[in-house]
């Protein structure tokens, strides 16, 4: 825990303890830990002298922040309009079926997280998903299963 807080202090120092930098601080913390654990937010609240409810207001407003742990492997299905008209909903169904979790959820073993994004900017490949860093263009059930099996 102390090690984690030291890492948080480093992030705060990089941005300064002004309230204006709060979103940037939270973004860096999210990147470091993949989510925003409660005790870390409490620590930030103390360090910046900002009420904890103010921080929760931010973290529940912005889509990028997560208050629950994220899996070691992330699956993002693009829900952009271009992907939508090419069958993104069906792709999301397939992915959800393979992983056994719904969008926004993390599997019990914290192996996978399934999320939707509004546009990946890879419309030519639509419907498209990103499995960790790999783009999969309209993968079949079998393709997704293969990808999931290859994850440690």
């Amino acid at each position: 825990m102390l090690g984690r807080l030291a890492a948080v202090d480093k992030i705060i120092e990089a941005h300064g303890s002004d309230r204006e930098g709060l979103i940037q601080i939270l973004l860096d913390i999210q990147r470091e830990f993949r989510w925003l654990p409660k005790e870390i937010l409490e620590h930030v609240s103390k360090r910046l002298d900002v009420p904890i409810n103010y921080i929760y207001n931010l973290t529940t407003f912005y889509a990028h922040f997560s208050l629950v742990p994220k899996g070691r492997h992330s699956m993002h299905v693009c829900m952009g309009t271009a992907c939508h008209v090419r069958g993104a909903e069906r792709l999301l169904d397939r992915t959800s079926q393979v992983l056994g979790i719904k969008p926004g959820q993390t599997s019990r073993d914290e192996k996978f997280s399934l999320d939707t994004v509004n546009c990946l900017g890879a419309c030519a490949l639509g419907p498209v998903m990103i499995a960790d860093d790999e783009y999969l263009s309209n993968p079949t059930l079998e393709d997704i299963r293969r990808k999931a099996d290859s994850c440690e």
Binding site: I23, Y62, R90, C119, C123, V128
Partner: protein
């Protein structure tokens, strides 16, 4: 930059510019590997690596320039590699092709024909600008992407970069800069189309000790990635525009608000800013002119509504990005209560061009009320997906059919959606509409930031309207009731329609809710939220009626209303559908007609897509008809 010498006067800049240009051979061979988001997804990173290895193995590093550039535009055929100066355009390049390109083209000056674009007559087209996708475009803002390494300020300066800034701060008064932008007729490229010059003037006017200029790079429209393409590929063009704006308005601080989902754009901008500071083109007393300016990058944490000007400024202040009522505009009281001018990425990128080439040049492009070019992300069910830049006033038909190559799989065109969640759909009979701010608005849609989503006959307009409302329901900040509850009520009605439980007066209800939202919502998000629904009712009312009265989905999309069946006359018993079915709902012997068990079917559409296009035995029918069929067969069994 190899060695940085701080520039302290305009003549310092001029001599640097001359030195860069003199040191460059315009005929030098250069390889531009596209690293836009589309090409990267097609593994263009590996192609680039392979080029590095192959060039060094061939001993050509000294003779050939290799660059990972921003988006070239033709995402459909990525990864794209362009060999300059001849503009030889290779498409769908895989890492395995690289050695052949180096051997054949770079060493022996011949072309690798199989990687060229094939025209309709089947003949290969060598030059990029001769390919139909590029031929009808007019690349003014986006054209330098393939000639610029986003990490090289020398590349930008060699293309005339920062000469507009120097011209503005050394030879023009701030008022003259504003007058030029005003005269050019440049309108905001982010959606609303507000005249940029008027906004600048309004920000410069009120007495204040501090003013701000801001780039809106919170590109949140689903299906649009133009700003990303500019910021990743040519960050200096946006920065230069912002600096000119800062000078004109009297701001010493600029912000770039960019969504954190664009890490490459953020990296390239931060890198560019560092170089500019080292060069002395950013900071105190730039080039000794007395103009001081610096830029801060703020990463957005993901909220569509934060693209609204007052909301975006709240977000920069570290608060929740919610809009406020704008009795007082942000040009008078914006960021930290100071006069602030917010423009979109593409708007800023147009500014250096206007200053350098003049308002008259800019006015010569476009239509009466919309000047210049516009970049669109042409996506959806179109053959040539990609980013296209066209003069204002081009018709939708030209964009979709001449540039876009028509509809994928040669299906029938149904509609095109512009303006994202605030815009609307445009039907086939209006394809000859000239694309500009005013014509799109009068058609019930809007320009928006430039998303252009093409839809074929297999698209359900009710479903698309529902899609946008679901998006908006997630993204509404919830501050005002008309938007928060209005969207959810509209969504409820559309959910009923797609579920087959619509009420006869639902269309009137939509009308009522929409009028209320347009009149009462706090910001543009809520006021324009009914647009996707209203425009599709305007042009595709019969589809809504079919959902309500007939409980059928003509587009064959709404799961609750459709069912799958196999036409025994057409089925050849190839078994493809059976193999792909995830729930084993299809049965049948080889070479004999197959059957769908509708009780098991989860309507995943896999069989429909898998059935060979020549056969088309899998068809969609009304769900209501399946139940009847069941009842009859059960009745028959009972008897």
């Amino acid at each position: 930059m190899s060695e940085i010498i701080k520039l302290s006067s305009p003549s310092d800049f001029e001599s640097l510019r001359e030195k860069i240009i003199k040191g460059r051979d315009p005929n030098r061979t250069a390889v531009a590997v596209c690293s836009g988001p589309g090409c990267l997804a097609y593994a263009s990173g590996k192609v680039f690596k392979r080029f590095e290895e192959a060039l060094s193995a061939a001993g050509l590093e000294g003779e050939v320039t290799l660059a990972q550039t921003g988006c070239h535009g033709f995402c459909e055929r990525g990864p794209s590699v362009v060999i300059l100066p001849d503009e030889i355009c290779y498409l769908r390049v895989s890492p395995e092709d690289v050695n052949e390109i180096v051997e054949t083209t770079l060493k022996n000056g011949a072309v690798v024909e199989r990687l060229l674009y094939k025209g309709e007559d089947g003949l290969p087209i060598q030059k990029e600008s001769d390919i139909p996708f590029y031929k009808y475009q007019q690349k003014v803002v986006f054209g330098d992407n393939k000639r610029i390494d986003p990490r090289s300020i020398e590349d930008y300066i060699a293309r005339g970069g920062y000469t507009a800034l120097v011209k503005a701060i050394t030879t023009m008064t701030p008022e003259a800069v504003i007058a030029e932008v005003k005269d050019s007729g440049l309108r905001g490229r982010g959606g609303g189309g507000f005249p940029a010059g008027a906004k600048w003037e309004a920000t410069a006017k009120p007495p204040a000790d501090t003013r701000y200029v801001i780039v809106n790079a919170d590109e949140g429209d689903p299906g649009a990635y133009m700003d990303r393409g500019i910021l990743e590929g040519n960050p200096h063009s946006v920065i230069e525009g912002l600096m000119i704006g800062g000078y004109a308005i009297g701001a010493n601080e600029g912000y770039i608000y960019v969504r954190q989902e664009y890490p490459l754009a953020i990296d390239n901008v931060l890198y560019a800013l560092d170089v500019l500071r080292e060069l002395g083109l950013l900071g105190e007393n730039i080039l000794g002119t007395g103009f001081s300016f610096d830029i801060i990058v703020h990463k957005g944490a993901g909220a569509f509504v934060s693209g609204e000007s007052s909301a975006l400024m709240s977000a920069i202040e570290g608060r929740v990005g919610e809009p406020r009522p704008k009795y007082i505009r942000t040009s008078i009281s914006g960021l930290r209560g100071k006069p602030s001018c917010l423009n979109n990425v593409e708007t800023w990128a147009n500014v250096p061009l206007i200053i350098n080439k003049g308002a008259n040049w800019f006015k010569s492009i476009g239509t009466e009320g919309s000047k210049g070019t516009k970049i669109f992300s042409l996506v959806g069910n179109v053959k040539n997906t990609g980013l296209v830049e066209v003069p204002m006033g081009m018709t939708l038909r030209q964009i979709i059919f001449d540039i876009g190559g028509g509809i994928r799989d040669d299906k029938e065109f149904k509609a095109v959606q512009t303006g994202g969640p605030s815009g609307g759909v445009i039907p086939e009979e209006m394809l000859d509409l000239h694309v500009d701010y005013d014509e799109l608005y009068s058609a019930g849609s809007m320009m928006g930031s430039g998303g252009m989503i093409v839809m074929d006959k297999d698209t359900c307009m009710v479903n698309v309207a529902k899609y946008f409302l679901e998006f908006l329901s997630d993204e509404s900040c919830g501050k005002c009731v008309p938007c928060r509850d209005g969207i959810d009520q509209l969504l409820e009605v559309l959910r009923r329609m797609t579920a087959g439980t619509a009420r006869p007066d639902d269309l009137d209800l939509i009308e009522d809710i929409s009028v209320m939202m347009k009149e009462c919502a706090l910001c543009g998000l809520g006021q324009s939220a009914p647009n996707p629904v209203l425009s599709s009712i305007k042009y595709f009312k019969d589809e809504y009626v079919a959902h309500i009265n007939d409980k059928s989905c003509p587009g064959g999309v709404c799961k609750a209303l459709i069912a799958y069946t196999i036409d025994v006359e057409k089925c050849i018993g190839c078994g493809k559908c059976m193999k792909v079915c995830p729930v084993n709902a299809i049965s049948g012997d080889k070479k004999k007609p197959h059957k769908v068990n509708n009780a098991l079917c989860v309507k995943c559409d896999s069989c429909y897509q898998e059935c060979p296009s020549k056969v088309q035995a899998v068809t969609k029918i009304r769900q209501a008809d399946v139940i009847t069929a069941f009842a009859t067969s059960e009745e028959a069994a009972n008897e």
